[in-house]
Structure formats: structure tokens, C-alpha cells
């Protein structure tokens, strides 16, 4: 509970702070169980709408601003994600899942347009431009990967004319997020990774994380007096494995320690000089910022407001008993929250800053907030012909029912049978589905779009299943590694009740699915064409040979002895015989 309150405070603190100043950045560190460390980076800047429209960019990145203006995009959400959030051990997701994406790339935007065709054309412009900007394959988001969600994504910003806005959503679950996406991400920041907390972000460590997500969100925020600002929020959340991150880059392979350095469990009978059963350590591991990120924090970004509370940039969420050493040559300040679970630091300007936490045996632990829902999804069945998808969603609360929207966006070659869709709750026989929106896929034109509004009673588990069939594709439609299978995008769950406190909403996502499809033999298009044509020619030739020819008795035909090669040879022999015989006669 301690930490949950602290987190709420932290969020509220950021929200209130961001409204006043133009640029702010925050880093929240929270050691998690099993030697994991959550690091949440948040960069936020404001630009007034009028300045934006006059192309007068201060904190707003010009490259992104021009794309948004060109594509008529009023609100943008872009996500690059990797890995799986382990909700059983790590608790509630950062930002309630609202700044998180499904595995791969996920993009959704509110585009201003007169009609759907124009909106889609602008959407293609947007994806192509963002593809160039972020070095990602976003241009592969075509009509088959685009859906128009109806219940899952309400607008986050305040919009003037909502009737002309179109929501489009696309996913690339197969996209591998990597360093080339981080570099353009950092370039959008005012300090560009040279100072401030963004100087910690290193591609080698970020993409080595157990779970990471990068998000870019642009939304208009209007005050009650009608003055609007365009808010850009960039977040990077990651869960690092501390041991893995501390490995030096020149020696990244984990090797067993020499036996002298291991603490052995001497109570085991076989414990001896050369045999050792390592003791499972219960203490919190030691780490330092520079140790796990491989580089040091280069002091505060000078563009952040230095006077307000907002300048306390780096926060760490640990029990108060945890010892933290601050390692810096510059001036820094520390502030502690009321219950001491959150310690925040004001960074020095122009000097390196480091936090060092020694290994420590703890008596108290952080109580991590419980997520409102647990969700898992997988494919049942075997073989490459058909299967079924099963989603298991659990409501851990013992008192409150949870109402949510479940969104699936499936590729067209995975053909669900919606008549087999079944949702069961283990605690009651009532059908949990309240509302269904279904748009079936059309081959090679669009994918399946399924949205379900469902309710889970308290302390219950909902099981959702449906059958699907796998299509076989044309051989040119398979990717180079066809036998690996295809990725199906994660299901997205948005909570309706309990309602979220801000406009961002509460979300969670399942993992993506790997869908093996039947494959043809890629090596033999010519053979197939030849063999099939042969069979057809045999049938056609046989039948038309009978139809166009006439029957006569075998003995009626002159000069047509035995046919074929034998006949020809016999004919030649006869001719030779005749010639020699006549020669003999003349001689």
C-alpha cells in the first residue's frame, strides 16, 4: 500500500507540475522482486496551439510537428515494445498501462478528415512519414493491419470538432524494436540524450531489458478559458534484470564464479572443498545507476525548470531503510515523501550524478499495487490447419466487478469462427458479454476486428474461446522465414469500471501469438506448374483424342501396321531389304 500511495502521489505530482512549466522530465526507479528494477523515464513538453499552427516550434520537435500538420493528425500515440510485463510478480503496470504498447509497434491516431477515404489516405501519409522518422517498418501498416476501434480508445485530448475526427489503429507485432528506433526517439527530446536523465538511455541496455516500451504521445489539452496547448509526452519504461545489466560489455557471457567466491550451503551432506550448493540470496542486490546503464547521468537538462518542485527529476521508490549513497561532485538536493518510500533528487547542472545502492538484507518490503486484471492469451490445438484461441482474464479483487473492453485485431489469414465464440465465468452461469462489435476479415483486403464489452464479477476468472482456421497463402506472400510462423497482435483490454482518474485510461495487453501456417514447397513452382499441366494434358488429350478421331477396323487401314517405334524400324528394314534385293537382281 505504501508504494501504491506513493505512486499515485508521484503521478499527481507530475500532472500538476506539467501544466505550469513547458518542459519537464522524470525518472522513477523501483526495485522489483527477483532482482528486477523498473525504470520509468518521462519527458513532457508543452507548446501552445497557436505557436504550433504558425510552425513556431520551441520544445515541440519540428520533424514530428510537420508530419502531424501534413497528415492532419490531431492526436498521436506511437508505441515500440518488447517483452512481457510479469504482472504476477511486478504488480500494477506503470502509468496503468496507458503508456504501453503491444509487442512490436503499435500506432493509433485521431486524423481530421471529411470522410473515411480521406482519413485513410492521411493515415497512410502519416505511417509512411513516421516510418522514415523512426526507422521502423511502419509503412507496412496497410489496410489489412488497420482497424477503426469503436470502444477501446476514447480520445485523450480535448478536441474542437470531434465529428470530423477518425480513429485509426495499426499494429506490427512482428517488428523487432531495436537501437535504430531509440536514436530518433532521443533526437525528439530537447536535450537529445546529451544531458538530463535521457543521457542514461543506451540501446544496448534498453533492448536487453526483460520488458521495455517506448511511447510517443501528442495530444491537445485545453483550459476552460479556451486556451489550448499541445502536449508531447515521451516515455520509456523498462524492467531490467540487475545481474544481467551489471555484466560488463566486454565480457557479456555469464560464466560460473570461482568456487572461492560463492557462498556455499554447508548444511548439505555433499558440501566439500570442491562441491558447493550455492545459498539462495535473500538480500536485495547492489546496483548503481552507472553500473546498470553502462554510462553516467550527465547532470540536469538545463531546459527544465530549476526552481519548482518539478526539478526533483530522479525518484527512487524503496522502503525507507534502504541505504542510498549519492555520488556526485555537483550541487544536488534531496526530498523525501511523507512516508519516506519515495526519495527524489534534484540533479546538479554540468556534473555527473550517480546513485549507489549497496547489497542489503531488508526487513520490510514494498507492497506492490495489485493490477485490476490479469490477462493471458494463447493458441490451443495442434497442426497447421485450425486451432482455437483462449484468453483467460482474472479479476483478483474480492469486492468489485470489473467491466472492460476486449479488442482483437487479427490478420486476415487467421479466420475466426465467431459462432464458436464462448465466454464463461467460473463463478456464474451468466453470459459476461454485454456488447459485441465484429467486422470480419476479407482476404487480402482487411483483417478481423473484434471488440467485446464484458463484465467479470469479483474474484472470478473469465475464459474466452473461439475457433479459427489458418489459410494457406500464395507462395510470394510468405516472409523469408515462413516456417517460423506469423505473429498475431496482442489483445488490448481497456477498463471501463473502475474508471481511471485521468483521461488516459487503464489498459493492459496480452502477449502476441505466434501462428504457424501451412507452407507450400517454395523450391518448386516450376515442377508444380509442369506436373499439374501434365495431368490436365493427359485428361484433355485423352478425351479430345477420342472425340475428334474416327474408329475403323484394325485390318481396314493400309500401311498402318504396328505403329510407334517398332513400326518405323520395321519399315526401314523393309526398305533396305527391298533395295538390296533389287541391287542383287540387277547384278
Amino acid at each position: 500500500m505504501l508504494s501504491f500511495l506513493a505512486l499515485l502521489l508521484f503521478n499527481a505530482f507530475i500532472a500538476s507540475a506539467s501544466a505550469s512549466s513547458d518542459y519537464s522530465e522524470h525518472l522513477l526507479l523501483r526495485p522489483l522482486p527477483q532482482k528486477a528494477l523498473l525504470a520509468s523515464f518521462n519527458f513532457r513538453s508543452n507548446e501552445s496551439s497557436t505557436a504550433f499552427e504558425q510552425q513556431n516550434f520551441r520544445y515541440f520537435p519540428r520533424s514530428l510537428g510537420q508530419i502531424l500538420q501534413h497528415a492532419g493528425t490531431k492526436e498521436l500515440h506511437l508505441r515500440f515494445s518488447l517483452g512481457r510485463w510479469d504482472a504476477e510478480n511486478w504488480g500494477q503496470r506503470p502509468w496503468n498501462g496507458a503508456r504501453e504498447g503491444g509487442t512490436g509497434v503499435e500506432l493509433w491516431a485521431w486524423v481530421e478528415a471529411q470522410n473515411e477515404e480521406e482519413a485513410f489516405a492521411r493515415w497512410l501519409t502519416l505511417t509512411n512519414a513516421l516510418s522514415g522518422l523512426f526507422c521502423a517498418s511502419l509503412n507496412f501498416i496497410d489496410a489489412t493491419k488497420t482497424i477503426r476501434p469503436v470502444m477501446s480508445f476514447p480520445p485523450e485530448g480535448d478536441h474542437q470538432n470531434p465529428s470530423q475526427l477518425h480513429l485509426l489503429h495499426g499494429t506490427l507485432p512482428h517488428e523487432v524494436v531495436c537501437t535504430e528506433n531509440l536514436t530518433p526517439f532521443l533526437k525528439l527530446l530537447p536535450c537529445k540524450g546529451k544531458a538530463g536523465i535521457s543521457s542514461l538511455l543506451d540501446g544496448h541496455k534498453l533492448f536487453d531489458a526483460s520488458w521495455q516500451t517506448m511511447a510517443v504521445d501528442v495530444r491537445p489539452v485545453c483550459e476552460e478559458d479556451g486556451e489550448c496547448t499541445l502536449e508531447t509526452e515521451q516515455t520509456v519504461d523498462m524492467v531490467l534484470d540487475i545481474d544481467r545489466s551489471k555484466r560488463p560489455r566486454d565480457n557479456p557471457i555469464p560464466r560460473p564464479l570461482p568456487i572461492e567466491e560463492i557462498e556455499c550451503d554447508t548444511s548439505k551432506g555433499y558440501s566439500a572443498q570442491d562441491t558447493c550448493y550455492p545459498i539462495h540470496k535473500t538480500s536485495e542486490p547492489a546496483f548503481s545507476l552507472s553500473g546498470i546503464y553502462g554510462r553516467s547521468l550527465k547532470g540536469a537538462c538545463p531546459l527544465t525548470d530549476e526552481s519548482s518542485e518539478n526539478s526533483y527529476t530522479v525518484c527512487i521508490n524503496t522502503p525507507p531503510e534502504r541505504i542510498i549513497h549519492v555520488n556526485t561532485t555537483g550541487q544536488y538536493a534531496e526530498s523525501t515523501s511523507e512516508n519516506h518510500a519515495m526519495r527524489c533528487y534534484k540533479l546538479p547542472v554540468g556534473a555527473d550524478f550517480d546513485l549507489v545502492l549497496p547489497e542489503q538484507q531488508m526487513t520490510t518490503r514494498l507492497v506492490l499495487a495489485q493490477p485490476p486484471l490479469y490477462a493471458a492469451r494463447h493458441i490451443n490445438g495442434h497442426g497447421q490447419e485450425h486451432g482455437s484461441v483462449q484468453a483467460v482474464i482474472t479479476n483478483p479483487s474480492s469486492t468489485d466487478a470489473v467491466e472492460f473492453v476486449y479488442l482483437e485485431s487479427l490478420p486476415w489469414f487467421m479466420k475466426p469462427y465467431i459462432h464458436t465464440l464462448q465466454a464463461r465465468v467460473n463463478s456464474s452461469p451468466e453470459n459476461p458479454i454485454r456488447e459485441t462489435y465484429y467486422r470480419p476479415a476479407v482476404d487480402r483486403q482487411r483483417g478481423t476486428h473484434l471488440e467485446l464489452r464484458m463484465v467479470i464479477p469479483a474474484a472470478s476468472t473469465l475464459t474466452l474461446t473461439y475457433d479459427f482456421e489458418k489459410a494457406i497463402l500464395r507462395y510470394t506472400e510468405y516472409p523469408p522465414d515462413a516456417n517460423r510462423g506469423f505473429d498475431a497482435a496482442p489483445a488490448i483490454i481497456r477498463l471501463i469500471s473502475p474508471e481511471s482518474l485521468d483521461k488516459k485510461g487503464i489498459y493492459l495487453r496480452t502477449t502476441s501469438l505466434l501462428l504457424p501456417l501451412p507452407t507450400p514447397d517454395f523450391s518448386m513452382p516450376y515442377n508444380v506448374i509442369i506436373l499439374t499441366s501434365t495431368v490436365i494434358a493427359l485428361g484433355f488429350g485423352n478425351i479430345f483424342n477420342l472425340l475428334v478421331r474416327r474408329f475403323v477396323g484394325a485390318d481396314e487401314v493400309q500401311g498402318m501396321g504396328p505403329g510407334g517405334l517398332k513400326g518405323i524400324i520395321r519399315g526401314k528394314v523393309e526398305r533396305l531389304k527391298a533395295r538390296f534385293l533389287t541391287k542383287k537382281k540387277t547384278a
Binding site: 495442434h382 497442426g383 497447421q384 490447419e385 485450425h386 486476415w412 479466420k415 469462427y417 465467431i418 459462432h419 465484429y438 467486422r439 470480419p440 476479415a441 476479407v442 482476404d443 487480402r444 482456421e469 489459410a471 494457406i472 497463402l473 500464395r474 507462395y475 510470394t476 501451412p518 507452407t519 507450400p520 514447397d521 518448386m524 513452382p525 508444380v528 506448374i529 506436373l531 499439374t532 495431368v535 490436365i536 493427359l538 485428361g539 484433355f540 485423352n542 478425351i543 479430345f544 483424342n545 477420342l546 472425340l547 475428334v548 478421331r549 474416327r550 474408329f551 475403323v552 477396323g553 484394325a554 485390318d555 487401314v557 498402318m560
Partner: protein, 422 residues
């Protein structure tokens, strides 16, 4: 009287076998409905259920890539109780469809049009099987039983093809046109059966009335009749689904083959492996090829229209884009009508063993490819080649026998002698 009792017994036995299979193995229908050999994308019962679900929930079933069957099946099947919970009524419908089909087949057999037509009388026309035996050949054919248990809608198309043939051989021209238009409405390619069956119908009418009707007006009237009844079926469908988009989703799919789900035919793997730039060209070539048999056979075998129609069903079972064993079942049930040709056939052993070989190894090779992963697509592809080859041997051989039989009538002196084709 004896025939009637035998017939009743046969029908009761066939219905009992099907009921037993339906009730004793409740998972068998869905198992068979998932088999690619039995259910194709255009006949699958599971897809029909999906279409029904969308139809009853006011979503257009044609605004999607799953349902490719005729629109009128939707209101028909929505009258039946939900098959997922109460399958009994649907099962009864399919049993009745099979029995009606057998009844139509027996009517064809009884009409005697297979061996004796208006212009032609086979010299071996005393060599024939009783209609009950032919009906039993249809009802107890494992392919027919599998189609019925899988509840594939090709059973319905087969029924209407058989009805069209039966009515044509009886000279009941209006019902013939109506049955054929339903068959063509359900699966499009039976339209090619119209010319030979029209000749059959004309012959039947001419023999019955002793004064042949004018051939030209007869053709014009019933061609117009076909257009009108087919047009009205399509119009009712468009009113029912309140748009014409079903055309692209039903006949368009048959013509353009967007769904490459494996089946026993020759098209799917060919178009999986085809180079993109040649796809349209080969689609055209393949369809022209299928259609090319109809005029050739109809002209050459003008005197034996029922044989032409039978051979065409065989051609459909091999060369159409989405064939299944149901099409083969129809053809193989019609072949026994021509018992008098059997002595003239040369490759009966080869053809029957090829078909048996393919029907046993087909499922095994499919399993190796899709489930075991120890074979690749070529395994199943090879077996579909063998299957098609086996069927085309039957078609070609029976055609040879029919022509030879005609020759025996034209030139009795050649009977039993060796002949040559020139």
C-alpha cells in the same frame, strides 16, 4: 411391388446407417466437416454456420472472407434449430437430401435413357443393373455417406443435379429447368449441364409424344426459362441480402480462387505456386479448359445425352476449382447406369486401384504435412495428382467404351474386332 419393398428396405437401411453414425459418434460430423477432402471453402458446413450466425445477428455474411455459399441457404437453415445444440433436425434434413437424391437416381435408371435413347439403342442394352442396385451404390458409397455426415452443402447441389437429370430423362421439362437452375445457383458449374440435359429432355419428350416438338422453339423456350428462373433466384437473393455483393463473394470466389485451402482438385497448389503476373491468365485458361469439354462431348455424343451429362459431372469432379469427394461420389454413382459399357472398358483395374490408393493415402499424407510435420505440401499435392489421374482414367475409359459401343451399332461387322483411331 417387389421393387417398392426393396426400395423401402434400401431407404430404411441407408437412413439407419446415417442415423447410427450421427448418434453413435457425435463428434464425427465436425471431424468430417473439418476435412479438406470433404468440405471445401464453398461447401463447408462450418462456414455455413458462421454465415448463419452473422445473418441472424444482422451482419452481412458477404462482407467477410469466410462465407461463400448461396444466400438462399441462410433463411432455409435459419428455420432449423441451432445446430450447435440441437443437431438432430439438420441431420434429418441431410438424410432426406440423400434419400431424395437416391430416388432421383433410381428414376434415371428406370427411364432407361442410359442405354436406349431416341436415336440410339445400344447392342448390349439388356446388360443393366436394377434401379435398386444403383440406388444402393449411391446410398452406400462411402464418399456419399461422408458428405452426408459432414453436412457439406455439396450434398444439396448433388441432389438438384440428380433431380435435373431425372426430370430431363422423364421429359418433365419445367421441373428439369427449375432443378437445374437451383443446382447452377448453388454451385455455378452445373450450368454447363444444360445443353446435354436439354437434348435429353427433348429426346424424352419426342419419344413420348411421337411428334417431335420444333427443336429451335423448344431450345429457345427452355433457355429463356432457365434465364428467368436463375434470374429470379438471384433477384430474390439480392432482395434478401439487400445488395448484390453476394455475387462477388459466391461466384467471384469460384471464378478467381482467392481462398487456396487445400482440396482434392488440381487448382489450389497450382495457384499457390503460380507467379503473380500469370495468375489471371491461368485462371482464364483453366476455366476455358473446364468449359471446353461441354461442346465437344455434346456434339460428338449427340445421341447419348445422359452419358454426356454423366461424363461432365466426372469432369467437374476433376477440373473445377473446389472439387471434393462429394463430386466424385456423384460421378461414381452415375457410372453404374452404364453397366452395358463395362465389358468395353480397358483400364477398370488400373482406375479403381488408383482411386482406392488415393483415397487411403490422401488423408495419411495430409496428416504428415499438416500435423506430423514430417512431410511437406508435395505429399498431399502428389496424392491429389494421383486422384485426378485416376478419375480422368475412368472418364476417358468410359468415353472410349461409349464410342466403341456406338461403333458396334453403326458397323456391326466390327463387333469384337480390334479397332484403330484415325
Amino acid at each position: 411391388m417387389l421393387i417398392d419393398r426393396q426400395k423401402a428396405l434400401l431407404f430404411a437401411a441407408a437412413a439407419a446407417v446415417r442415423l447410427l453414425l450421427f448418434t453413435a459418434f457425435p463428434s464425427l460430423p465436425s471431424l468430417l466437416a473439418g476435412r479438406v477432402e470433404v468440405s471445401t471453402p464453398v461447401t463447408s458446413f462450418k462456414r455455413l454456420q458462421e454465415g448463419l450466425f452473422l445473418y441472424t445477428h444482422d451482419v452481412s455474411p458477404y462482407d467477410g472472407g469466410v462465407y461463400h455459399q448461396a444466400p438462399l441457404l441462410l433463411p432455409l437453415f435459419s428455420l432449423l434449430p441451432n445446430t450447435s445444440y440441437y443437431p438432430f433436425a439438420t441431420n434429418l434434413v441431410y438424410i432426406a437430401v440423400d434419400l431424395l437424391g437416391a430416388n432421383a437416381l433410381m428414376q434415371i435408371a428406370e427411364s432407361g435413357q442410359s442405354a436406349t435413347t431416341r436415336l440410339f439403342k445400344s447392342s448390349r442394352n439388356d446388360l443393366r443393373w436394377s434401379s435398386v442396385a444403383i440406388g444402393a451404390g449411391f446410398l452406400f458409397n462411402p464418399f456419399t455417406v461422408a458428405t452426408c455426415i459432414a453436412r457439406s452443402t455439396s450434398a444439396l447441389a448433388n441432389l438438384f443435379i440428380l433431380m435435373a437429370m431425372a426430370k430431363a430423362s422423364q421429359g418433365a421439362s419445367i421441373t428439369f429447368v427449375f432443378a437445374l437452375s437451383i443446382a447452377a445457383y448453388l454451385s455455378m458449374h452445373p450450368l454447363l449441364l444444360f445443353p446435354p440435359l436439354l437434348i435429353l429432355c427433348y429426346d424424352a419428350r419426342a419419344t413420348r409424344s411421337r411428334q417431335a416438338p420444333n427443336a429451335f422453339t423448344f431450345t429457345a423456350i427452355y433457355a429463356l426459362g432457365l434465364v428467368v428462373s436463375l434470374g429470379s433466384l438471384l433477384y430474390i437473393s439480392s432482395v434478401l441480402t439487400s445488395s448484390w455483393e453476394f455475387l462477388a463473394s459466391t461466384y467471384g470466389v469460384r471464378l478467381l480462387l482467392p481462398d487456396l485451402t487445400p482440396n482434392v482438385g488440381l487448382w489450389w497448389y497450382f495457384f499457390t505456386e503460380m507467379f503473380d503476373s500469370f495468375r489471371e491468365f491461368f485462371l482464364g485458361v483453366f476455366w476455358v479448359h473446364v468449359a471446353s469439354y461441354m461442346p465437344g462431348l455434346t456434339i460428338r455424343l449427340r445421341k447419348q445425352p445422359l452419358f454426356v451429362a454423366t461424363t461432365l459431372t466426372g469432369i467437374f469432379a476433376i477440373f473445377t476449382p473446389y472439387p471434393s469427394i462429394a463430386d466424385a461420389a456423384l460421378y461414381l454413382s452415375l457410372v453404374p447406369l452404364f453397366r452395358h459399357l463395362f465389358p468395353l472398358m480397358r483400364y477398370t483395374f488400373l482406375a479403381s486401384s488408383t482411386i482406392l490408393y488415393a483415397s487411403f493415402l490422401g488423408p495419411a499424407f495430409y496428416y504428415l504435412w499438416i500435423y506430423a510435420g514430417s512431410g511437406n505440401a508435395n505429399f498431399f499435392y502428389a496424392i491429389t495428382l494421383v486422384w485426378s489421374l485416376g478419375l480422368s482414367v475412368v472418364v476417358g475409359d468410359s468415353l472410349y467404351a461409349a464410342l466403341r459401343d456406338e461403333l458396334d451399332v453403326e458397323r456391326p461387322e466390327l463387333r469384337g474386332k480390334e479397332v484403330k483411331r484415325i
